[in-house]
């Protein structure tokens, strides 16, 4: 790794500097577009006390479900976590704090964090328990809730293609939270399917410009499907 070349060859290099009690963003929606190798690697390193920001929490034994197994997460900030039994157990027992956040608010908190905006107002959640204790304000006759933005020590994201400078392209709905988390990590690590030379990606088609990405690692992906639904009529 030198100059603008962000490519690293080992997970040790990809996660250099990671410690207990950090805030880590993890891209993906369900199991779609998750940085599988980076998740596995944090699991193997037994990093503890993680404040984890991710839309979901994986399934039992896969994705962020692995971190739950080893009780690595102290606080989970997510919008929907219903897919695994261990999560339920840890949240009910109080071993893990859970901050449920509306999905759009979560996305905007991350987007704002990455853009240097400390907080914003949204109508989402006004009059519900999500707004409890938060500042509210009227604009043009409608009530809004102030939501502080989010940043992370590390953002672990998954992309389809990268060039060596860290320009990224995502595939289909595996994009989801990845591009916004790329902007909100002090260190953003992109685990990708393919790495090409700078100049090979069409600049018009780049989703995440390289400035947001500190490290790029070639991964291998199982891409487990959470709900296989087939059109039988065709």
């Amino acid at each position: 790794m030198s100059g603008l070349n962000k490519v690293v060859s080992t997970y040790d290099q990809a996660l250099a500097g990671i410690q207990d009690n950090m805030t880590i963003m993890c891209g993906g929606f369900g199991l779609c577009g998750i940085p599988e190798g980076l998740i596995q690697s944090i699991y193997q390193r037994n990093i503890k006390g993680i404040t984890c920001i991710s839309n979901n929490a994986g399934v039992d034994g896969f994705g962020l479900g692995l971190w739950l197994e080893k009780r690595q997460i102290k606080t989970m900030i997510a919008s929907y976590v219903g897919e695994n039994a261990l999560f339920e157990q840890l949240s009910i027992s109080g071993e893990m704090e859970v901050i449920l956040t509306p999905q759009g608010t979560l996305a905007e908190k991350i987007r704002a964090g990455g853009a240097g905006i400390p907080a914003f107002y949204t109508a989402t959640g006004y009059g519900t328990m999500v707004a409890a204790g938060k500042e509210t304000r009227e604009f043009n006759g409608k009530m809004y809730v102030m939501e502080p933005s989010l940043i992370a020590d590390f953002s672990l994201i998954k992309a389809w293609k990268a060039d060596k400078f860290g320009n990224l392209i995502y595939k289909k709905t595996a994009r989801n939270f990845n591009p916004i988390m790329a902007t909100a990590g002090r260190i953003t690590v992109a685990e990708v399917e393919e790495i090409v030379e700078p100049g090979e990606l069409n600049p018009d088609e780049i989703h995440t410009p390289s400035i947001y990405v500190q490290r790029v690692i070639q991964g291998s992906f199982e891409k487990r499907i959470e709900r296989l639904t087939i059109n039988e009529s065709q």
Partner: protein, 218 residues
């Protein structure tokens, strides 16, 4: 006779006009897509980052990188686009989605909705529901009129934690179509074989029965 889930979906499909961008929630709302006629040209938005959701894939079409907000494998329709979660909710919060259909546990006469949490039961999270009810221009709630034990779900005030405050204007139940305005449920249509008295008995919130209640066409 109370309507089946499919019949509720069929009635809601009549609300969808050509040119609409529509977000369908999980459960009965998902079924609505099956009853939109071919001459109605619409795009389905899936909040994980897909505008132009197509049918479920064939075995050969299955792609783990292409799912909907229910985490089901889907296809992309002609003219579809993919985008980030922030972009997706900009569409929703910015009021660009023409119609949102979602389920509910309770709705009240002020138009507040409870759909995400039952205290003492496992809380899975609100997902995008709070954003959808706060942002959509036009929301139709699909629900059963009463619980299995016969208690009304159309209340004067929601008892469960809210998803959104005073944001619902139309409800399609297994018994009726109702509009919510001026702090009351206004009965617009009844299901075949259901009387206005049945609706009175099944509605705990304030109910106004207009002079020209129609029978639902299915």
């Amino acid at each position: 006779m109370k309507l089946s889930r499919e019949q509720i979906a069929k009635r809601i499909a009549q609300e969808i006009k050509t040119g609409y961008y529509v977000n369908l929630g999980i459960g009965i709302p998902t079924l609505v897509a099956n009853y939109i006629s071919d001459d109605v040209e619409i795009m389905l938005q899936s909040e994980n980052g897909l505008l132009g959701m197509g049918a479920y894939p064939t075995n050969a079409q299955v792609d783990p990188d292409l799912i909907n907000a229910g985490k089901e494998t889907v296809t992309a329709a002609r003219g579809a686009s993919f985008f980030s979660s922030a972009e997706s909710f900009a569409m929703i919060r910015g009021g660009h989605v023409d119609l949102t259909v979602l389920g509910a546990f309770e709705v009240d006469q002020q138009g507040s909705i409870a759909s995400w949490m039952i205290p003492e039961k496992m809380v899975k999270g609100m997902g995008g529901a709070m954003d959808l009810v706060a942002g959509a221009k036009n929301i139709v709630v699909a629900m059963n009129h009463t619980s299995k034990s016969g208690e009304s779900k159309l209340l004067n005030k929601c008892t469960l934690p809210l998803t959104g405050l005073k944001c619902i204007h139309k409800v399609v139940t297994d018994m009726a179509v109702l509009e919510i305005k001026s702090d009351a449920f206004h009965l617009i249509e009844v299901a075949p074989g259901i009387s206005t008295n049945d609706i009175k008995d099944a509605t705990q919130g304030k109910l106004i029965i207009s002079d020209n209640v129609k029978q639902m066409e299915l």
